[in-house]
Symmetry: C2
Subunit: 327 residues, 2 copies
């Protein structure tokens, strides 16, 4: 059967709680700046109480990516777990309203829908603290094989590796995709996340992955090196293709035969880095699913990332299709 969707995203279904804070807030509350830290319910309550007034907006790395694909004019589905609570309703609404297919049944019992407490500092960096809630209980039974098989590319979050259920779900999704002859991609998500799963991921990449997304810190953590050039060569021993992002320096696409450098979009003012990697993946995956050259895939990634960092929040404020028209 021919695939009918461009991208199927698999990830932690999360609602973001976004506040802007002075730099001092990060130190005062022992936050790990620029990283994603997992927190329990108690810490979430304490940290939230200390935060200034915020706004809530749907998030989740792979969900942001799926929304970006739809915003570019592509077709996408999402697999992730929410509770039947108010934030779960918001998450599901925002995905579907963005045109992303989302049919995983909400859990009727258990932890609440996940939330990520995001502090945006004046330098536009985002510091994330995630209470995984029910999202961590995504399990293989939540992965609809037919949905995975319907997508040209399956895109998984490395973050899912933080719990056993979700790790099993990611493996199941990858196995189904491979058996159907689909492309399997993963993002390494966060350098601390790489640190937690390095050995397993080296095997996973070699065994099941066609395309990996990583930023400089993540690929460096994977190979325990500060040498980006060396890491970008090493990764080609494991996977046929890697898209490595370097913030303002743009991205580098490497395959065993090629190395392509593409610049970042020029942005008047970077407001909030949240979602930059997620939306880069949107553009790249949309291009790849539609048969674009690797250089063009990276350019589409830069444009999508450029839109997202120009405002607060990790979902596009305008239709990305309009930004890439004629590109």
């Amino acid at each position: 059967m021919e695939p009918t969707l461009d991208v199927v995203g698999v990830g932690n279904a999360i609602v973001d709680v976004i506040v802007t804070v002075p730099e001092s807030f990060i130190d005062e509350h022992d936050l790990v700046k620029g990283a994603m830290t997992l927190i329990d319910a108690e810490r979430a309550t304490t940290l939230y109480a200390a935060m200034p007034p915020g706004i809530e907006a749907s998030g989740g790395s792979a969900a942001n990516t799926a929304v970006g694909v739809a915003s570019l004019g592509g077709s996408a589905a999402y697999l992730g777990k929410v509770r039947n609570d108010q934030l779960g309703d918001v998450f599901a609404h925002d995905l579907r309203a963005a045109g992303v297919a989302f049919d995983v049944s909400p859990a009727l019992v258990g932890d609440p829908t996940a939330r990520c407490l995001i502090q945006v500092t004046p330098d536009a960096e985002r510091t994330m603290n995630t209470f995984l809630g029910i999202s961590a209980f995504l399990d293989p039974a939540d992965i609809d094989d037919a949905v995975v098989e319907s997508g040209r590319i399956t895109y998984c979050e490395g973050y899912l590796y933080d719990t056993d259920e979700a790790k099993a779900a990611i493996h199941h999704a990858m196995d189904v995709a491979r058996a159907a002859g689909r492309l399997v991609s993963i993002t390494l998500s966060d350098s601390f996340c790489v640190d937690r799963h390095r050995d397993e991921w080296l095997d996973l990449l070699a065994d099941k992955v066609d395309l990996v997304f990583a930023n400089e810190a993540e690929i460096g953590s994977l190979f325990l090196t500060d040498d980006f050039e060396a890491a970008s060569r090493q990764i080609t021993d494991l996977v046929p293709m890697a898209a490595l992002t370097r913030s303002a320096k743009g991205s580098v696409i490497v395959t065993p035969d090629e190395r392509i450098e593409v610049g970042a979009s020029s942005i008047e003012r970077v407001v909030d880095a949240t979602g930059a990697g997620d939306l880069y993946a949107s553009g790249f995956l949309y291009g790849l699913a539609r048969g674009a050259s690797l250089a063009h895939c990276a350019e589409l990634g830069s444009i999508a990332a450029g839109e997202i960092i120009s405002h607060i929040g990790a979902r596009p404020h305008v239709a990305l299709a309009g930004l890439v028209a004629g590109q």
Copy 2:
């Protein structure tokens, strides 16, 4: 006992769900543009499903006003009703994080926390559809007399008149405030709301209110006239003071002896009118509580309203105290 707070707000405790829509959305879904329409749970579900992805932010007219007072450097408390659910937690957090005292116990049973589905059109007008939920069940027992007595000014939403419980609560709050020798103020809230309660409000204003806030449509609706000048004279027969807002034309303060016109703040681009009246009231009430002249009260109102309409959402993005310093 001397009052210890500047303002005590009483209102419907609501979380806003804000989306931007094209003009056509308003007609397609039979919305009453620029107004606040009450909707039931079923309509809320249907309308939400039709809306594009949005953001959630704490709202509620008098709550926005209380936050504005705190942002100006004043002291404020709020009385309103939420459920013990996720949106209720968000509402309470955002008020307290803004420095507003909020100690009404969340309801443990009953309808969920209220939400207002807000459509912002390209002309910056906001169209509001409110599912009142548990907020409508604010009753006299929720009004802590000591809190009301602690405020120099009690500020009530006309919106509260839409249910019997909340109407009884507003009357109780006004009676307590008057008995303690405090100033009683009310906003007429919405011209359709005025239409629903005109006769009762004419009595209410004459009997219990010292200061009324209204825009042109509301004061016109109260006296069933299109003649703003005539309405602005009539209101002084009922109350000692009225602050009448006229959007870009600024505001007019009328008392039996005075008529003061003050211009609006000049804004580069009006983005979202949501909260303009609420924040005007913040500035005016803060000035009045601190003994400013009526003209200066109106200027403070213009500055606070000017900040709020320059961005999406009805809570300040910067400390208003900084904007009015030296004014």
